[in-house]
């Protein structure tokens, strides 16, 4: 029976909508987490909700696993198949369906690239607030699946705070519309439940987003430090003294040097041990008060230099450096493991130290670039996946990093999701009953279990996942 399925799918999707040959499926074997790889049996690229619905009906009936994929910029293996099955890419569904500047929302297809929304509503003085570093490539559907964050989520909140409605195709092909005209709909908050479900509940095809008015004034500042500890303490004090910047980002020396060698060179001083990138928004007096308050704290912590971007061009340059930091690490080693943990903001200095010590103990190259204001650390470990021993050390160090952060009162993930990367560490944070309850919720959305199986919840028994594969 299985051999007829590709033919049925192709009759729905046409030649442009399906990839069957092996070579063109290879790029779908992983996302940004390159050490977990598995080539999917088929790649489907539907062009509409209806096409996706028709495909899911067939796949559901046959019990074939389905992995949804946006642009494959995720960092936890969320879009990587575990045991074959089908990858469904949303890259052909990238239309902007509606922009309502008065009511400040937009309705878009899920494959639209994050930054395209802001481009499209720029003339109305509006923008879409969540801004992951990959925002020039990642899709809004992927943002929804992982409840993505970004530097400005310190002020504006993660993706879940900006989603007003979703059109979702469930595993059996049923279409669920969760678009309410009111901001506080009656009944359970199903949107809240779906956002961050990592492709295990269904596939969103249309997203209604909240657009945010641009602030009157935006100031971007750079504090340059001779010492990483001082940069961390500056952030802790800014939070403690209740200043309200919209972003607080720290980059350490190795990161600065990699960025400065790249096309995104931002003019960060390469001899600095750390820089703190700060953004402040609001009315002119609000901004000035914040800038003065923050500058005083930074000076108290012995900065080498204090810079204020003079215009939009300088602001963009400072930010481009930050956003290109992950890619710039390609200059250090072929692969990068981006850890994503959250710690109490009173303990930034201590935990950045501890994560650095752990990596040094395992003889690994670590760089730090993180959303300091949120306490969201990204210890980045550069490695080469071809080196088995190095690979083992990376995984052991990552495990220890998660452990010390949780012990200090932090959590497993800030914004990248769990996926494959942290699946087996879930027990560090959750009791078996918690995970049992999560599976119960998953079963309510997808009783068949075909949606992104093998992710997020640890596998407890070897017969738990029995995904079917095509016979070739």
């Amino acid at each position: 029976m299985h051999t007829t399925i590709p033919r049925q799918l192709q009759s729905i999707l046409g030649d442009e909508g399906m990839i069957a040959d092996k070579n063109r499926r290879i790029p779908y074997e992983c996302d940004g987490l390159a050490f977990e790889r598995e080539i999917p049996d088929l790649v489907l690229l539907p062009a509409s909700t209806e096409e996706l619905q028709a495909c899911l009906r067939i796949l559901h009936a046959a019990g074939i696993p389905v992995v949804a994929r946006g642009a494959g910029t995720g960092l936890t293996g969320g879009a990587t198949p575990v045991k074959g099955g089908v990858v469904i890419g949303l890259a052909r569904m990238r239309k902007i369906l509606e922009i309502d500047p008065t009511n400040q929302f937009a309705r878009v297809e899920a494959g639209l690239v994050n930054v395209d929304i802001t481009h499209a509503c720029d003339d109305h003085g509006l923008f879409y607030a969540p801004d992951p570093s990959s925002q020039t490539a990642c899709t809004i559907g992927g943002n929804v699946a992982n409840n993505a964050g970004g530097p400005h989520c310190f002020k504006y909140g993660n993706t879940s705070r900006h989603i007003l409605g979703l059109k979702i195709v469930l595993s059996d092909g049923e279409i669920l519309e969760l678009s309410e005209p009111e901001l506080d709909p009656s009944g359970y908050d199903l949107l809240g439940l779906f956002i961050g479900s990592e492709g295990m509940f269904g596939i969103a095809t249309e997203v209604t987003l909240r657009l945010t008015p641009r602030a009157e004034v935006t100031e971007t500042l750079l504090a340059v430090f001779p010492d990483l500890d001082q940069a961390c303490d500056t952030v802790t004090d800014i939070i403690a003294e209740h200043w309200e910047p919209s972003a607080l980002e720290i980059m350490d020396q190795l990161t600065i040097q990699a960025v400065e060698a790249s096309v995104f060179s931002a003019g960060y001083p390469p001899d600095a041990k750390a820089v703190l990138l700060i953004e402040v928004e609001g009315s002119r007096p609000e901004c000035e008060a914040n800038v003065a308050g923050i500058e005083a704290i930074a000076k108290r912590h012995g900065i080498m230099e204090w810079r204020r971007a003079a215009n939009d061009k300088e602001r963009k340059k400072l930010w481009a450096g930050r956003k290109g930091a992950y890619g710039a690490m390609g200059r250090i080693a072929p692969d990068l493991y981006v850890s994503d943990v959250v710690v109490p903001r009173t303990k930034l200095r201590q935990l950045v130290r501890q994560t650095t010590d752990i990596c040094e103990r395992y003889d690994l190259k670590i760089t730090n670039v993180f959303h300091a204001g949120d306490g969201n650390l990204h210890p980045n470990i550069s490695y080469d996946r071809r080196d088995a021993d190095q690979m083992r050390r990376v995984l052991a160090a990552a495990d220890e990093i998660m452990r010390v952060c949780i012990d200090a009162g932090g959590t497993l993930s800030g914004e990248h999701g769990i996926g494959l990367e942290k699946r087996d560490q879930m027990h560090m944070y959750f009791e078996p009953e918690d995970m049992e309850a999560m599976l119960g919720v998953r079963d309510a959305w997808d009783p068949s279990g075909i949606m992104n199986p093998g992710k997020m919840i640890p596998v407890r028994a070897c017969n738990e996942h029995r995904p079917l594969r095509f016979k070739r």
Binding site: E16, I19, D21, K22, N23, R24, R25, I26, P27, Y28, E29, C30, G32, A34, L45, A71, G72, T73, G89, A91, R92, R94, G111, V113, V115, D116, S134, T136, A137, C138, V259, A261, S262, V263, F264, G324, A325, Y326, G327, A328, M329, G330, R331, P334, D335, L336
Partner: protein, 426 residues
């Protein structure tokens, strides 16, 4: 051939898989296929080198489908040398049995025998013109079908070659050598004349060395790296001919962005050649795009030579960055500076750094794909309200002219040299 020879494996490891290139890639945006994106193509190439994939027609098709616009290089934080990666693999796979014999042989003939020789180009132009005038291309089988996608060849009177030397106007400020080009004298001899006139007006004595025909860009991008190296050497020798009064070699000014981008990379192309490695580096440093040279070296003199009354140019105008000017050479501000010294309003066109679909031989070999790449750009042109579109590369100019004509837009497509020529004081 073993897998490691097909791929420049070391360069492929520079990709850290971040995906920031995806949105800038015209073929990924057109198809939504990651195998048609820079990251995907690199991923497949690396898999071939590691023995995890075998070359087949699907892989070749995805690699051939690349425009080599190099937009991905402009946004790659890791500094992947994509252009060199794809040139290497295309060259290694040029003779692959997964291509048809006819396509292999006709490609090789065109790249090795026609484009490399002035007399062959002239003969081919004549045949093409006759074929186009008398509608006989359809009789010539597959080759004729490819030729149907070529633009109309102008009559012989408009296919004039340049004289070897052109004196400066007014006070002599310097001397330059220019590249006459392979197809430029066929389709764009008026652009070549405009280039000379503007340089003369800027006080430059212009030399036109005749010792080399083609820069080798089309060969390097289409699997003929060895031919490209031979052409590069001829070009270096030819351009080492003219010297100024003090005996120094001249700046090499190029009015075709694709050629200048290639010529600036002779250093790495010939890095392994003991005789030419150093000469190639020195040559590459002398190569300047037309607008780069004028704005950086002669900005004031050009401005003085321009008339203040509105010239014969429809307003507003816009500059569409040729890929091999902005991504290939990093030249972005200079053409805009020059155009702002012309007394015509200038507007920006959305995504001006995105490929128009011309891409060397792409528009000829894949007209339908090329049209789909151009379509959103035509939409952006309409939205900009521009009535003159300015470019700096012959392929882009042909592509835009064809698109504007097809859509019936009231937009004139000009090379930046033509805009400046029309603006000169009479």
């Amino acid at each position: 051939m073993n897998a490691q020879d097909i791929v420049d494996y070391t360069k492929s490891l520079d990709c850290v898989h971040c995906g920031l290139c995806l949105r800038t890639c015209p073929t990924y945006r057109d198809t939504g296929r990651e195998s048609a994106s820079p990251r995907g193509r690199i991923h497949m190439m690396r898999s071939v080198a590691e023995g995890a994939a075998e070359v087949d027609q699907h892989l070749i098709e995805e690699l051939d489908g690349c425009l080599v616009c190099r937009n991905c290089e402009s946004v790659c934080p890791s500094g992947v040398e994509y252009n060199e990666l794809i040139a290497h693999t295309r060259s290694a796979l040029a003779d692959s049995p997964h291509r048809s014999l006819l396509s292999r042989e006709s490609m090789r003939f065109g790249l090795r025998s026609v484009l490399t020789s002035r007399s062959m180009i002239d003969l081919f132009a004549l045949m093409l013109r006759l074929g186009q005038r008398f509608g006989m291309l359809s009789l010539a089988g597959t080759l004729g079908k490819g030729a149907e996608n070529l633009p109309d060849v102008p009559p012989a009177a408009e296919r004039q070659r340049l004289a070897p030397v052109h004196p400066a106007q007014g006070k002599l400020e310097g001397e330059v050598a220019i590249l006459e080009g392979c197809v430029m004298p066929v389709f764009f001899s008026h652009v070549n004349r405009a280039t000379v006139e503007v340089l003369q007006a800027a006080g430059r004595q212009v030399h036109v060395p005749k010792g080399a025909t083609c820069c080798g860009a089309l060969q390097a991008h289409n699997g003929e790296l060895e031919t490209a190296r031979q052409l590069a050497k001829q070009m270096i020798v030819s351009m080492e001919g003219p010297r100024d009064q003090t005996g120094d070699l001249l700046p090499v000014v190029v009015n075709s962005a694709g050629c200048a981008a290639q010529m600036k990379e002779y250093g790495s192309l010939l890095a392994e050649d003991p005789e030419f490695a150093e000469r190639a580096e020195q040559f590459a440093a002398r190569v300047k795009d037309f607008s780069e040279y004028l704005a950086d070296e002669a900005g004031t003199r050009v401005a003085e030579a321009l008339a203040t009354d509105p010239p014969q140019i429809q307003s507003p105008l816009t500059f569409d960055d040729p890929c091999h000017l902005c991504h290939g050479q990093g030249v972005r501000s200079q053409p805009r500076e020059l155009l702002d010294s012309v007394h015509v309003q200038r507007v920006e066109i959305d995504e001006s750094e995105s490929c128009c679909g011309s891409a060397g031989l792409f528009a000829t070999l894949r007209p339908a794909d090329s049209q789909r790449i151009l379509d959103p750009r035509l939409g952006a042109l309409r939205a900009s309200g521009a009535r003159t579109l300015v470019t700096a590369n012959p392929g882009c100019q042909l592509q835009w002219q064809a698109g504007v004509k097809r859509d019936g837009l009231d937009v004139e497509v000009l090379h930046i040299a033509e805009v400046l020529q029309r603006s000169l004081k009479s």
